[in-house]
Symmetry: C2
């Protein structure tokens, strides 16, 4: 049942790449099936036959995005010898990605569907899961630094530090979206890395943080 019947006249990988470009530019809800069919060069019925629903297509698009644009930051995290170098290289790789030519100046994972209509709640949570995995990946790299001996920090500190750098990564996308240049992002990264020494040397800053979060609910 592989070579039977009429063969496909378009390349699914190419079509997926074209769908990626459009979803990247307009987000999930901002992209219509007509838009997709036109960009992919096929009829909308062919999209359903090959990829399933619009949501199914989007999930496949995100998988492709993760293995292409998402890979450099992940590789930086993995390949650098120390935790500090890994974080720094990941931030720089992220900045490279979100200011590259020919693609929108932001991370699709972060801005393709942060809010929207109620019926697309599952798509938003799908992306949120991937973002939470992102922080976990950072934390895992920090933990490796502890076992490698190049990083001294408590387990509670690792979660906080990983969340901090995940926050910076996500903030960078907004900055780039609003027109910040690669050089301007670099200054942000420099600032963010300036916290490293204080965060990873004794005494830990989190003895103070644990008593925090007490002043809430100012108004509504």
């Amino acid at each position: 049942m592989a070579t039977r019947g009429r063969p496909r006249t378009f390349d699914p990988d190419t079509a997926l790449r074209q769908a990626l470009d459009l979803f990247w530019e307009r987000g999930y809800e901002g992209t219509s099936l007509n838009d997709l069919a036109q960009a992919m060069g096929i009829a909308s019925a062919s999209i359903y036959a090959c990829f399933g629903s619009k949501e199914d297509l989007f999930r496949q698009v995100m998988a492709l995005y993760g293995t292409t644009s998402g890979e450099p930051p992940r590789r930086a995290l993995r390949a650098e010898p120390t935790a500090r170098a890994a974080i720094h290289a990941m931030l720089r790789a992220t900045a490279d990605q979100i200011t590259g030519p020919g693609t929108p100046h932001y991370c699709m994972l972060i801005l393709a569907a942060p809010t929207g209509a109620v019926e697309n709640h599952e798509v938003r949570e799908f992306l949120a899961d991937l973002r939470r995995d992102m922080r976990t990946t950072i934390e895992d790299r920090l933990a490796r630094g502890v076992t490698d001996g190049d990083l001294a920090a408590s387990p509670a500190g690792l979660e906080a530090i990983s969340r901090y750098y995940a926050t910076v990564v996500q903030g960078l996308s907004i900055q780039a979206r609003d027109g910040a240049t690669r050089a301007e992002l670099e200054t942000v990264i420099t600032c963010a890395m300036a916290a490293w020494e204080a965060l990873t040397s004794e005494p830990e800053v989190f003895v103070a943080a644990r008593s925090g979060a007490r002043s809430r609910c100012r108004n509504g």
Copy 2:
């Protein structure tokens, strides 16, 4: 021509507040006029008569948002005695706002319309302008710290530091949107403030940053 004719049966301020709640939850494109009319308790034609178009309504909603939810962080920036205390208080006020009960756990200014269909480009740029003003406001506060004598930093450093803390503010919204608690945001703020000493004491970190931004365009 003020009290002539049939008086309005709904309160525009109340209706605007209800529109705000809906736009906040679903974003600009995710909110339909039917949704708005239902939430505001009036027919869509009355929306057009009182507020203009959907985009006009959204701009009025954002003005209301700025004077309510946007005020605590701005006040913190203004009222604290030193630049450092002002930044710290602003971050905490932001964290309070985006984890408050009864409202979505993110900043509407940041996530209501980061991407979307081509025809809503002006709405996105309208929000981007407000976000860029946000960074300028932070930089102005840092400059005041210099004249007040509680902060020593170069003009180039002020832009970088303000952009850095604007990045953190914006990243916090993604974190809260993805379920981070107020306490978890506090640890991020603690990390972000840990950079302060290094950023504002000699030698400045930006002597290194100026030669940065040279490794770009890894792949595409």
